[in-house]
C-alpha cells in the first residue's frame, strides 16, 4: 500500500460521503424549510394554503377565545396593520399572553385561517417583561427607522 494509494482511498471515501451528505442535505432542505411571514405579508402576498409557514407578531388584546372542549384556542396575531385568525389545539406555552409577541407555526386553510401546530412565546434570559430585554438590547444602537 503506497502513500498515494492510501490517499486515493481516503479521497474516494470522502467524495462518496460528501456526495451522499450533499444529496441528503438537499433532499432534507427541499421538504423542510419553513418560511416566515408577517400578518401583512400574508395579506399582501398569496401564501399557498397547506404550505408550512411561520407567522410572528403580537397576540391581539381580547382576541383569545377558548372552545368548550377546553383545549382549542382561537386568537388573532397582529402586526398592527393586519391580523391573522389562528386556531390551536393544545396547551399554550406558559409565557403566552395577550399583547405579547409570539411565533406560530402551521398552515393556512382555504379561508386564510391559520391552523397552528406550534405556538412559541419568546423567552429571554432577561427575566422581567421580555420587552425590556428588547429595549436593553437596542439601547444606544437602535436608530428607530422601524426596520
Amino acid at each position: 500500500m503506497t502513500r498515494k494509494k492510501r490517499r486515493l482511498y481516503v479521497l474516494l471515501v470522502a467524495a462518496v460521503l460528501l456526495g451522499g451528505a450533499t444529496a441528503l442535505v438537499i433532499g432534507a432542505f427541499r421538504g423542510n424549510l419553513v418560511f416566515f411571514f408577517s400578518p401583512t405579508e400574508i395579506f399582501e402576498k398569496s401564501v399557498e394554503p397547506g404550505q408550512r409557514i411561520r407567522v410572528g407578531g403580537l397576540v391581539e388584546e381580547d382576541s383569545v377565545v377558548h372552545d368548550a372542549d377546553g383545549l382549542t384556542v382561537h386568537f388573532r396575531v397582529t402586526d398592527l396593520s393586519h391580523a391573522v385568525m389562528v386556531t390551536y389545539r393544545g396547551i399554550l406555552p406558559s409565557l403566552f399572553r395577550e399583547g405579547q409577541g409570539v411565533v406560530i407555526q402551521g398552515r393556512l386553510d382555504e379561508t386564510a385561517h391559520f391552523i397552528a401546530d406550534e405556538v412559541m412565546a419568546k423567552h429571554d434570559e432577561n427575566y422581567m417583561p421580555p420587552e425590556v430585554a428588547e429595549a436593553l438590547k437596542k439601547s444606544g444602537q437602535w436608530k428607530g427607522d422601524d426596520e
Binding site: 417583561p129 428588547e134 426596520e147
Partner: protein, 178 residues
C-alpha cells in the same frame, strides 16, 4: 504539490465566506415584532391620570404642538438610566414632554417619581398596557416624537443618551417646529 496546498487552504476559504455572511447578518435584524407607525397619526387613546397630582393624557392632547411622549415604568431599569436626562430636558423647556406609565402600579410609579423627580407635563396611566400595544411599544423605555398635526415622526427605542438627544431628537423637534 500545488493541489495539495489548495486542500490546506480550503478551511480558511470556507471560513472567509462564512464571515462575509456573518457581517451581513449583523446588519439584519432577525427580530420579528413589528413597529410600523412612522408618519401615521397617533392611534386614539384617552388615558386616566396617574394619580391626583398629575394631569391625564389623551391622543388629542398631542395635537397643536411638537411633543415627546416617553413610555416608562418603575420596574424598568433603563428608564432609571435615562431619567436624569429627561429631568434636564424638562428644566430647559425646549419641548413638551409627556409620559405614558406602562404596566405599572400607580403607587410604585408615584414613589419612583418622588425619588427621581417628575419631568412630565402630563402622565397617562396605561395600567394594562392596552395603549402600549396600540402604539406598538414592545420595550420600555421608548420615546415618540409627535408633530403638530399629531403624527408620529420618530420613535426611539431604549434609553435616550445625551448624544441621541443632541444629535437627533432635539434637531428633529426644531425641524418640526418650522
Amino acid at each position: 504539490m500545488n493541489s495539495r496546498r489548495l486542500f490546506f487552504l480550503l478551511p480558511v476559504i470556507v471560513f472567509g465566506v462564512l464571515c462575509a455572511f456573518f457581517l451581513r447578518g449583523l446588519s439584519l435584524d432577525p427580530s420579528t415584532v413589528p413597529t410600523a407607525l412612522a408618519d401615521k397619526p397617533v392611534p386614539f387613546f384617552d388615558l386616566p391620570p396617574l394619580d391626583d397630582e398629575t394631569i391625564a393624557l389623551a391622543s388629542s392632547d398631542l395635537v397643536g404642538e411638537v411633543a415627546l411622549v416617553n413610555v416608562f415604568a418603575s420596574w424598568c431599569l433603563p428608564c432609571r438610566v435615562e431619567h436624569p436626562l429627561l429631568m434636564e430636558l424638562a428644566v430647559t423647556g425646549k419641548v413638551a414632554l409627556h409620559g405614558v406609565n406602562y404596566k405599572d402600579k400607580p403607587e410604585d410609579a408615584r414613589a419612583w417619581l418622588d425619588e427621581l423627580g417628575d419631568p412630565f407635563l402630563r402622565i397617562g396611566a396605561d395600567r394594562d398596557g392596552r395603549v402600549g400595544i396600540d402604539l406598538g411599544v414592545y420595550g420600555v423605555p421608548e420615546t415618540f416624537v409627535v408633530d403638530r398635526t399629531g403624527r408620529i415622526r420618530y420613535k426611539h427605542v431604549g434609553p435616550i443618551s445625551q448624544s441621541d438627544l443632541e444629535k437627533y431628537l432635539l434637531p428633529l423637534v426644531e425641524k418640526l417646529r418650522q
